[in-house]
């Protein structure tokens, strides 16, 4: 049976074979004509002899040859590297080994064996400060290389450093989980499992994935947008646009739509104005500018945009309905009705057309007609709170208190949820504040 020391030596030799010959032979051939080259050659010869001795299982002889090489060329990093590694093989908490390894740590940043052995040596020597510092130095590599991170954590566990190990495994787990959750979110979204997809995306985002500057951020933004998670979509689009000056106007348009979706109309307007300037042909840009201005209580400023939309697309039932609403707001009931009739002819299932009919009928005191329209509205858009509010008013005027109460309850329920969503997006709360 092979000894543990011998098996470790072979593993080390196998993993680092390229370091044995390639670089040193190259140095030897390039610098052979100068006195300095002569010294380098001697050092290289000693190093190669040491490595061959190591491969032959003669650790003592290998160390002796490397020490000679170090005497000839004390600054040679490879000599220092292997001297440190071999001394460590000989005695794992050897301080001299640690010093040689430390001296070349920065020069071999990808040398996992060097890093892991140095950490092992510190832990054996119970040098807590140095081991902590080294783990900190290794964070970037651990984040990029989960296998290496696993080896670091495994080393910590072997030495009973469970608290540190837990901390590190949490970090690694988070990094990996972000990616896993993100991919999971895409799978669920593709499978139309929307609530699950949203949870997974939020989990990924909470773990810092995708990174702000990555193009995957756009995928996340688009996914949130598709899920109608508008506050999250807005945040993701903002991150993407801030890092990609080549972003298409369509992406800014969706950012504007996201703000519109959760009631941040000032920001929505800013983005849409930007799009209108950059890409005036963007489909429905005028419709949304008009719609946003209505929400901002600037109906007369909305009018030219809606007229422009209708000029571009006379069959836009959405813009036609908005025109009806503008006339309703202006108190022009006959004009409102005319636009509504046009809109109904274009699309009899558009919820907002029914909503504006409901408003108009309520104003005119035609409550039975209002109920019909508003019920049609909530059939098409069951979660539209304003429709339930108007429906409640209509039922009340008709003397049906029970139906009025039911509609009002539904309004309160939906309105509270909508207000909560907006408040959450804006970091507000109705709960007692912190003290």
């Amino acid at each position: 049976m092979m000894s543990r020391k011998r098996s470790g030596m072979l593993a080390l030799a196998g993993m680092l074979s390229c370091f044995f010959f390639c670089p040193l032979s190259a140095i030897g051939t390039q610098q052979q004509n100068s006195p300095r080259a002569s010294k380098q050659d001697q050092a290289a010869a000693e190093l190669n002899a040491g490595l061959r001795a190591y491969q032959a299982g003669q650790l003592e002889q290998a160390i002796a040859r490397l020490k000679r090489a170090h005497t000839i060329s004390p600054d040679n990093p490879q000599v220092r590297l292997y001297l440190g590694l071999f001394l460590y093989e000989q005695n794992k908490d050897n301080l001299e080994a640690q010093r040689y390894m430390e001296s070349v740590l920065d020069q071999f940043p990808a040398h996992g064996d060097l890093q892991l052995r140095l950490l092992d040596s510190y832990l054996r020597a119970r040098n807590e400060a140095k081991s902590e510092t080294l783990v900190q130095q290794l964070q970037a590599r651990m984040a990029a290389d989960s296998r290496f991170a696993f080896n670091v954590i495994y080393t910590l566990i072997r030495h009973g450093r469970f608290a540190s190990a837990r901390r590190e495994i949490d970090k690694v787990s988070n990094n990996l989980q972000g990616e896993v959750l993100f991919i999971g979110g895409l799978i669920e979204l593709g499978s139309e499992e929307n609530p699950r997809a949203l949870d997974l995306f939020e989990g990924a985002a909470g773990r810092g994935f995708p990174p702000r500057e990555s193009r995957q951020m756009l995928t996340l933004a688009d996914s949130y947008f598709r899920l109608r998670a508008f506050p999250q979509a807005a945040k993701a689009y903002e991150a993407f646009l801030a890092n990609h000056s080549d972003a298409a106007p369509a992406q800014r348009f969706r950012l504007g739509m996201s703000y519109y979706g959760y009631g941040d109309f000032e920001r929505a307007l800013e983005q849409m104005q930007h799009v209108k300037k950059e890409a005036p042909e963007t489909p429905e840009i005028d419709f949304y500018l008009g719609s946003i201005l209505i929400e901002l209580k600037r109906p007369e400023e909305a009018r030219p945009f809606l007229q422009a939309e209708l000029k571009r697309d006379p069959a836009s039932y959405k813009a036609t309905t908005k025109m009806a609403y503008l006339e309703y707001l202006a108190g022009q009931d006959d004009l409102c009705r005319q636009w509504l009739e046009k809109s109904m002819a274009l699309n009899g299932k558009w919820f907002e057309t029914h909503m504006v009919y409901g408003l108009l009928y309520n104003r005119l005191g035609e409550y039975e007609q209002a109920v019909k329209s508003l019920e049609a509205c909530v059939r098409e858009e069951p979660e539209y709170p304003k429709a339930y509010f108007q429906l409640s008013n209509a039922w009340r005027r008709l003397g049906n208190e029970e139906k009025a109460r039911q509609s009002l309850d539904r309004f309160n329920q939906l309105q509270d949820a909508a207000v909560s969503r907006v408040q959450k997006a804006r970091g507000m709360s109705d709960k007692p504040p912190e003290r």
């Binding site: 109309f265 109906p299 202006a330 509010f389 008013n393 507000m428 109705d430 504040p433 912190e434």
Partner: protein
Amino acid sequence: MIGQMPPAIRCLLYILAFAALLWAGTSPESQASFVVENIASRAGLTFKENNFATETKYPFETMGGAAAAFDYNNDGYLDLLFLNGAPSPLHLRTAPDSFNRLYKNNEPGLTFTDVTEGSGLSGKGIPGYPQGVAVGDYDNDGFVDVYVTNFGDNVLYHNNGDGTFTDVTAKAGVAMNGHPFKASACWIDVDNDGFLDLFVTHYFEWTFKDHADYYCGDRKPGYRSYCRPQVFKALPNVLFKNNGGGTFRNVSEESGIAKYPGKGMGVAIADYDKDGWMDILVVNDKAPNFLYHNKGHGVFEEVAIDAGVWANESGQFVSGMGCDFKDVNNDGLPDIFYTDVVPECFTLFLNRGKGIFEDRTFPSDLGPLTSAHSGWSTKFMDWDNDGWKDIFVAGSHVLDNSELYNPRTRYKEPCFYYRNLGNGKFEDISKNLGPDFQVPGAYRGLAVGDYDNDGSLEAAVSRLNDTCVFYKKKGGPAGNWLLLSLRGTRSNRDGIGARIEAALPSGLKLYEHVSTANGIYSAGDKRVHLGLGKESMVLSLQITWPSGVVQKIENVKANQVLQISEPEK
């Protein structure tokens, strides 16, 4: 006959007839513009409200700023009272910079003298952070009394008739020493017994013990802000019945008022369904409004949802602030207007009869005109005497650091004036009213009245941490007017609740009622001002007194202060 005339003469007659119609009628569009001047300094009104703001942002600091117009010495001219702030946490005022100020009108000349000292109204030594004021002659002795709402116990000052006031709170039993945070108050005879009762709004539940350490806003220097009302518990409002003899009884439970918790700000009164009993409107902050319908004898039912004034047309509960409750479209039915905070828009509900109101905020153009502004106290008033009530709004946001959170908002705003065009529409003429009207401030209280009895109204407005302003109209057509000073005999002496219908020769009718409550925290002239436009007389004046007595006076000449006593029958 006209048809037989030559075309040229016929045409001339038509032109003359049209011109005569314009001359005789009250056509708002025909009125030229006017400006207003802030004559506060010239008039001797030096009051500066000090809100004693703290870094802790106690909510009552950004409230208050009450103003009241009333004739405390019965010399026929309106005097002015401003309430001040008080240093937290004791709210015990000892220094002059925290005193309330009573200004006596020195008419003629529209100047005032500070008569606070010795009046008993300074608030010196009386604990409490003043919020609102209500004025009314609760004991029918002919002298107007003053009720002050506080954060802390409220105070009732009895007018002794000699220029002094006495704190009679304890005897009257109206301190309200339960929940400390009160807002507005008004005098109203809820049971038509001839004695004014007292209605007081609670804002929300807030005490130093339980809430002083609440931190709202970002945790960065300068970003701490006044907490939103949503985080605090609602409280019911309070009604005190006047027993006569200088005492009151809390009848909130039996009157039905106590059933409805809210976050009351402004209060205004009107008999909106003309059933002879005064009703009460309370505008709540981010909560449904209250319309307390008086079912008779001071028993109320809250009917805001049935009436359609529970929320605006979209079902939103805005940050309700000041309100007024008068007939704005001359159809004989009192309408409702209230202010709020940007990006909400001030709201107008028109009374459609049968107890139903319609949100006409947008059709009236007030929606787009007001959505970028925030307002506090407000009043329907007819500055240009054209017979159509316009709307005055004291502008300002609630949060003194609102710009940090939204650069588009402004804490300090100017006041606003929305002119009634008589066709259901309003126009914002604020910018035309001259430079004095453009000065931004943290405006709060508003006391409107005809301080010099010249038929043209003046507006006194308080500003937090700044001197008050006193706007006087200058230029433009004077317009005819009538100022009615009512004296109840069977009804309460102030005539509060009396309804007035004035028929003009043109056929137009004007409607008013007596009330001193308007806006938020504030009280205005109890006398009724009617703008008559070009009309030189009122054909018929009908007064329906709270007692039920209906009084008719015919052929009343314009441009006079008319004293009217309630007849026995």
